[in-house]
C-alpha cells in the first residue's frame, strides 16, 4: 500500500479468493533481491472483477503468478475457496488450482505452436484423465462460446490464427476447466485496437455465463475501468489505492493514480478537476526528468515507494510508510498527504 496494513473491503459473502500479506521476491546475484510484490492484500468477492493497474515492472504479473502458486509467493497466504494454497502438496495444489485459471499477456506464445486448436483447448482436462465422446462436444461448445467457429478452427495451429483468435483459444482453454476464478494478465495489450473491444466484451459475457470472479491485470486505465468493479492501483509492489471503478477518475486521490490518469491523452483536465475529497490535486507538476521513471525494485525507496516521483512528497513520506486507510465507501488510500474530509 505504498504502505502496508490489513484494511480491505469485506462484504457479507466471504471472498472466493483471499490473499493476505503476500510477498514475492526474486533473489538475483549476490545478496540482491528484487522486491516484486511487498505485502499485498486482496479479497476477491464472488462474481466481482477486480482490476489491477500499474506500470510495467510494478509487480502485476508476479502477483498474478504467485496467486497461482507458480512460483509460490515468498511469504503470505493465498486462501482459495476456503483452502490454503500455500503449502499444499503439488498434486492437491494442481487439483485445487484447476478451478483458478490464468490467461497470459501474449496469446500467441502461450500456445504450443505444434498443437491443434482442439488439443490445445482440451489439454487441461486431459491431464486430469477426462476424455471420450463428451469431450468433443464440450470443446465445440466452448469454442462457440468464445466466438470461434469450431469447424473452421478445429484442426488449425496457433500460427494459422490471428492474435485475437489465439486469445479466444486461450480463454476457451481456461473455460474448459470450468474455473471459479479467472486471472487475466494483460489479455488485450498485445491485440489490435479493433480486436481489443471484442475480447473485452467477450470476457464480460463469459463472466456472466460461467459465473466467474475475475482479476484483470492491465496498464491501461480506461480498459481497467471499463471491465472492473473495483480497481487496485499498484506501485513498485505495493498498493496505493483501492476504489470502486466508477469513481476512478472522479474520486481517486492518490498522487500516483492521478499521475496515471493525467498520462492518458486528454487526461490532464480530468486529473486537475476539483475533487470532492481532496480539493484540487495538482498532479501534472513538471517532474524532474531524473525522477520520472520507476526506481529499481532491487532497492525500493524508503517510506512511501512513490515519494521519488511524487509532487506532494515531504520528509514524512521518506521516513514513514503510509498505511492503507479508508477514505470513503470501499475506497482505501495509502498516502500521507491526501486530505480527507
Amino acid at each position: 500500500m505504498a504502505g502496508s496494513g490489513t484494511a480491505h473491503m469485506r462484504a457479507e459473502a466471504g471472498p472466493v479468493l483471499a490473499v493476505d500479506d503476500m510477498v514475492v521476491e526474486f533473489p538475483v546475484g549476490r545478496h540482491q533481491v528484487v522486491h516484486a510484490v511487498s505485502g499485498l492484500n486482496i479479497d476477491l468477492l464472488p462474481g466481482e472483477t477486480l482490476g489491477i493497474l500499474g506500470e510495467s515492472g510494478c509487480g502485476k504479473s508476479s502477483a498474478g503468478r504467485a496467486i497461482m502458486q507458480e512460483p509460490a509467493p515468498t511469504a503470505g497466504s493465498v486462501l482459495f475457496a476456503g483452502e490454503q494454497l500455500t503449502g499444499l502438496k503439488s498434486r492437491d495444489l494442481r487439483r485445487k488450482r484447476s478451478k483458478m485459471q490464468m490467461i497470459m499477456q501474449d496469446p500467441v506464445s502461450s500456445l504450443n505452436p505444434r498443437r491443434k486448436v482442439r488439443d490445445l483447448v482440451a489439454e487441461g482436462l486431459r491431464i486430469w484423465g477426462f476424455d471420450g465422446d463428451d469431450m468433443d462436444a464440450a470443446i465445440r461448445e466452448t469454442l462457440t462460446a468464445v466466438g470461434l467457429d469450431p469447424d473452421s478452427v478445429w484442426d488449425r495451429r496457433p500460427h494459422e490464427l490471428s492474435g485475437g483468435q489465439c486469445q479466444r483459444v486461450c480463454i476457451a482453454r481456461a473455460l474448459m476447466m470450468n474455473p471459479d476464478v479467472l486471472i487475466c494478465d494483460e489479455p488485450v495489450s498485445a491485440l489490435d485496437v479493433s480486436v481489443q473491444a471484442q475480447i473485452l466484451n467477450l470476457l464480460e459475457r463469459t463472466k456472466e455465463t460461467y459465473d466467474l470472479s475475475m482479476i484483470f491485470i492491465a496498464h491501461d486505465v480506461s480498459v481497467v475501468k471499463n471491465i472492473s468493479d473495483r480497481v487496485m492501483v499498484l506501485y513498485l509492489g505495493k498498493t496505493c489505492e483501492v476504489l470502486p471503478s466508477s469513481d476512478m477518475h472522479t474520486r481517486s486521490v492518490h498522487p500516483y493514480t492521478r499521475t496515471l490518469i493525467a498520462s492518458i491523452p486528454g487526461g490532464e483536465e480530468l486529473a486537475s478537476v476539483d475533487d470532492p475529497v481532496t480539493g484540487p490535486v495538482v498532479v501534472d507538476t513538471p517532474l524532474v526528468a531524473t525522477a520520472t521513471e520507476l526506481p529499481s525494485p532491487l532497492n525500493p525507496p524508503s517510506g512511501c515507494r512513490f515519494r521519488t516521483r511524487c509532487p506532494l512528497a515531504t520528509e514524512l513520506c521518506a521516513a514513514e510508510e503510509p498505511q492503507l486507510r479508508e477514505v470513503g465507501a470501499g475506497h482505501f488510500v495509502a498516502c500521507h498527504h491526501v486530505a480527507v474530509s
Binding site: 538475483v28 546475484g29 540482491q32 528484487v34 529499481s296 525494485p297 532491487l298
Partner: protein, 316 residues
C-alpha cells in the same frame, strides 16, 4: 578484478582435472614402456628392474602426483626413446612451430572470412551470396592433404615460389620464417575459412535486421560504414568462440599439414612418440596442448566483455 581472480581459480581446477585425465589415459595406453626403452629380447628381470626404477609399479595416483609435482616446476621428465632428451625441451622446440602455424592460419582465414562474410551478408540471398557459399562448401569438401599437395605441387614444386620441407625458426630469420610458414598456414586457413565465413555471415544477417541498423541507415551512414562500425562487433560472438576452439584444436592436431611440409610441430611429435610408446613425451605434450586450449578459451570468455558491454556488469 574479482571476476578475473574467479576465472583463474576456475582455470586451475580445470587444468587439474585435465592433467589427471591426460595422465591416466596415456598410462592406460597399450604397450610396455620398459619394452619400449630396452627393445625386445632381454631377460624378464631386466624389464622388471627398469619398471621398478621408473616407478611404474607404484599406484596410479602416486605416479600422477610425482609427475604433477614435476610438471608445475617445469620438469616433465625425460623421453624414453633414445636419445632420451628432456621432455620440456622437446616441447619448447615444437610448440612455437605449432602456435605460429595455427595463429598464422587463423589470421589468414579471418582476413579472408570477414570481408567475404560482409559481402555475402550485404547481398544475402543474391547471386554473390550464393556464389560465395558454394565456393566455401567446395573448399570445405576438399581434404586438407589434397589441398596441401596441390599447393605444394603448384607453388613449391611448379612455380618455386615457396620452399618445401624446411623450417626456419622465427628467432633466426623473420622473413625467412614467414616464407616457410605461409604455405602450410594457407592450407590450415582453407580448412577454417568456410566455417568462419558461414558463421559470421549468418550472424551478420541477423544483426542487419536489427532496428539499430535501420536507425544507423536513417542517419545517412554509408552501408560499408554501418557494416564495419555497427554490425561487425555485435555479430562476432560465435566467430570468436569458434576461433578459440579452433586455435586450441589446431595446436595439437595439424598433423597432416606438419607431415606434408615436414614441419617439427606438436602434432607430428605427439603421433610419433605415441607410436613409440614414449609416454612421458605424450603426457607432457598433451598437457601443454590442453593448457594452451584452456588458457585461450578463458581469454575468449573475457573478450565477451569487450564485445558486449551488457555482459560486463550484472544489472537488474
Amino acid at each position: 578484478m574479482r571476476r578475473i581472480s574467479l576465472r583463474i581459480g576456475e582455470l586451475i581446477a580445470v587444468l587439474f582435472v585435465v592433467s589427471f585425465g591426460v595422465f591416466a589415459m596415456v598410462t592406460l595406453m597399450p604397450g610396455d614402456p620398459a619394452v619400449a626403452i630396452l627393445g625386445e629380447g632381454h631377460p624378464p628381470q631386466d624389464y622388471e628392474n627398469l619398471r621398478q626404477e621408473l616407478g611404474l609399479n607404484d599406484g596410479l595416483l602416486h605416479r600422477y602426483w610425482d609427475w604433477l609435482s614435476g610438471a608445475v616446476t617445469g620438469d616433465l621428465g625425460t623421453s624414453l626413446v633414445p636419445p632420451q632428451t628432456d621432455v620440456t625441451e622437446r616441447i619448447l622446440g615444437a610448440l612455437p612451430v605449432s602456435v605460429e602455424l595455427a595463429v598464422l592460419g587463423l589470421v589468414i582465414a579471418l582476413v579472408l572470412a570477414i570481408p567475404l562474410a560482409m559481402w555475402s551478408a550485404a547481398h544475402a540471398g543474391g547471386a554473390i551470396d550464393r556464389m560465395i557459399s558454394a565456393t566455401m562448401f567446395a573448399t570445405l569438401s576438399v581434404p586438407s592433404f589434397l589441398a596441401g599437395l596441390l599447393l605444394i605441387m603448384i607453388f613449391a614444386n611448379g612455380l618455386g615460389w615457396f620452399p618445401r620441407a624446411q623450417w626456419v625458426r622465427i628467432s633466426e630469420d623473420i622473413p625467412g620464417n614467414l616464407h616457410h610458414a605461409l604455405l602450410p598456414a594457407i592450407v590450415i586457413a582453407m580448412m577454417e575459412l568456410a566455417l568462419f565465413t558461414r558463421i559470421l555471415r549468418n550472424d551478420l544477417i541477423v544483426t542487419l535486421n536489427e532496428d539499430y541498423i535501420l536507425a544507423a541507415r536513417a542517419k545517412g551512414m554509408p552501408p560499408w560504414r554501418i557494416m564495419v562500425t555497427d554490425a561487425l562487433r555485435p555479430s562476432s560472438f560465435s566467430l570468436v568462440t569458434l576461433m578459440g576452439i579452433s586455435l586450441g584444436r589446431l595446436i595439437g592436431s595439424t598433423v597432416i599439414v606438419e607431415y606434408l611440409f615436414a614441419l617439427p610441430g606438436m602434432g607430428s611429435m605427439i603421433v610419433t612418440s605415441a607410436n613409440q610408446g614414449d609416454y612421458p613425451l605424450v603426457q607432457g605434450a598433451v598437457l601443454i596442448v590442453a593448457l594452451v586450449y584452456v588458457v585461450v578459451n578463458a581469454g575468449i570468455d573475457l573478450s565477451y566483455g569487450y564485445l558486449d558491454p551488457r555482459t560486463r556488469r550484472v544489472h537488474a
